[in-house]
């Protein structure tokens, strides 16, 4: 993928891409559990904004179908000193986006001689997803702090939309915690309340979603820096589990 010279239509490439898809034969030959499935960070990601920063959290499981490829994944990817992105969807796709945007923001910081704004980072992510929307399966949440607008959370879902929200959920596990959000979120929570909310939300999703699991990694981003907190699987808050 070439960032400076983006993809143009190539007829030969187009015909070549209809070559035999060997993994489609697996469906006929192999029983269900043995089939290769795309590696996805089937995941739970949560980001909440508070006055002066953001709290972000994610689980630590990367799965390929029913197999856990990595039980210690770090889905909190740093774009700049004060901007992080949370990745969900195809693992390869989101890693590629994060690396390209990190480069773009690094270049921009050198040009502007100041840290980039969170909205600019989110826009870089959105532009990439939109440009390759037919190819990528990537839903990212970009969250961080800048001195212009303080703590911000931007959601960049599948098709290439950019939307600022005070709180954002993403990933396959998020379906199980929309109710928790609707019931328990209030605007203008303090930093500690936001932290508890994010930790509880990730825990509830881990409990129910098969594609999310392991520990919870959280980060609190404010003007003074990033504080990373890992809550191990045994130390997650207790929820009704019977």
């Amino acid at each position: 993928m070439d960032v400076l010279n983006p993809k143009t239509y190539d007829a030969e490439e187009d015909m070549l891409s209809e070559r035999t898809n060997y993994s489609a034969m697996d469906k006929l030959i192999l029983p269900m559990e043995f089939q290769q499935a795309p590696v996805s960070t089937g995941t739970t990601i949560v980001a909440v904004e508070f006055d002066g920063g953001v709290v972000i959290g994610a689980d630590t499981r990367t799965s390929a179908g029913s197999f856990v490829m990595n039980r210690f994944t770090d889905k909190l990817t740093q774009l700049t000193d004060r901007i992080y992105c949370l990745r969900s969807g195809g693992a390869a796709d989101t890693q590629a986006i994060a690396e390209i945007v990190t480069y773009q923001l690094d270049f921009l910081a050198a040009e502007m001689n100041e840290p980039p704004l969170v909205r600019i980072a989110a826009n870089c992510v959105r532009r990439l997803i939109y440009q390759y929307r037919d190819d990528f399966v990537a839903g990212l949440i970009v969250a961080g702090w800048d001195k212009k607008l303080g703590g911000q959370v931007y959601s960049c879902p599948l098709g290439g939309l950019l939307c600022r929200q005070p709180i954002s959920l993403g990933g396959s596990g998020s379906t199980y915690i929309w109710g928790y959000l609707d019931n328990n979120y209030r605007p203008n929570m303090t930093k500690q309340e936001c932290y508890d909310f994010v930790l509880k939300a990730v825990t509830l999703a881990i409990t129910r979603d098969g594609s999310s699991g392991g520990c919870a990694r959280l980060a609190i981003i404010d003007k003074d820096g990033v504080e990373r907190i890992d809550v191990l699987g045994n130390d997650l808050p207790k929820v009704y589990d019977l």
Partner: protein
């Protein structure tokens, strides 16, 4: 086809060719050929997938008996929906049935076996179902459904004490059955069977405590690497003395997590 023959209709030629070009009226335009044979009528024309599924079952023979373990989760796709479904069932004092895969089919099989056991009780002639008898019956049942192209989408593990010897066997949804000292169903085949077989082959038969310890280690490994696993599980130990069930919970070790930042 005989089913489309209508003696009251005009009959232009005796070759019933569906590919001919219809000029003019034809009753073939609006006919449907009903499926003629019973096999055709019962055939599945779409893939049937398992809906509520149980994950893997692990079982092996030790010195003096058999040990099995399975978690208590019924998954609805990726959702951990039913968290109190034990999948190891006691048939009688020396026979155990464990099931994995589609759980509604598993319930059907369990009910059929319970009905058989009750029938035996009613006869009051002291005969009891043995593991080998149950294993053979399950094989016939699964294979019969497979021939009708309507399989039970479950794996059945039969374990127990047969003629004072430990017995362990498995039947899958195709009706393929075998007896072995180590049986795993589901993803445990990939995750655990290789290294457990190495351990069991290279050791003299384990005693009961060692077998339990090893089974706990297997379940912990499955909990780490199977997306559809669950922390609470049941262990069943069958010996000549009888059947023993234990409810346990996995104690996972997450201590490596803080050292692995920036790993994708």
């Amino acid at each position: 086809m005989i089913s489309t023959f209508n003696p009251f209709e005009t009959h232009y030629d005796s070759i019933n060719d569906k590919d001919d070009f219809n000029i003019g009226n034809s009753n073939k335009n609006h006919t449907v050929n009903p499926l003629e044979t019973e096999a055709e009528r019962n055939i599945r024309t779409r893939t049937v997938t398992p809906i509520v599924t149980g994950s893997s079952v692990a079982a092996f023979v030790f010195n003096g008996g058999v040990i099995l373990a399975a978690d208590v989760l019924g998954s609805y796709g990726s959702l951990a929906k039913y968290r109190n479904l034990p999948r190891i069932h006691q048939v009688n004092d020396r026979t155990i049935l464990a099931l994995g895969g589609d759980l509604s089919d598993a319930d059907y099989i369990k009910e059929a076996i319970d009905a058989k056991v009750e029938e035996d009780l009613v006869q009051e002639d002291g005969s009891e179902m043995t593991p080998l008898a149950l294993y053979s019956w399950c094989t016939r049942l699964m294979y019969h459904r497979r021939t009708k192209l309507n399989p039970f989408l479950t794996s059945v593990i039969v374990a127990g004490i047969e003629n004072n010897e430990p017995f362990l066997g498995r039947v899958n949804d195709k009706g393929s059955a075998y007896k072995e000292f180590l049986i795993m169903t589901g993803i445990a085949n990939h995750l655990a069977q290789g290294w457990i077989r190495t351990i069991l082959e290279n050791s003299n038969q384990l005693n009961k405590e060692q077998a339990e310890h090893l089974m706990d280690r297997i379940i912990k490994q499955l909990f780490y690497r199977d997306c559809r696993a669950f922390a609470r599980y049941r262990v069943c130990i069958v010996t000549k003395e009888g059947v023993e069930f234990k409810a346990k919970e996995v104690q996972p070790d997450w201590s490596l997590a803080p050292g692995l930042h920036n790993t994708e």
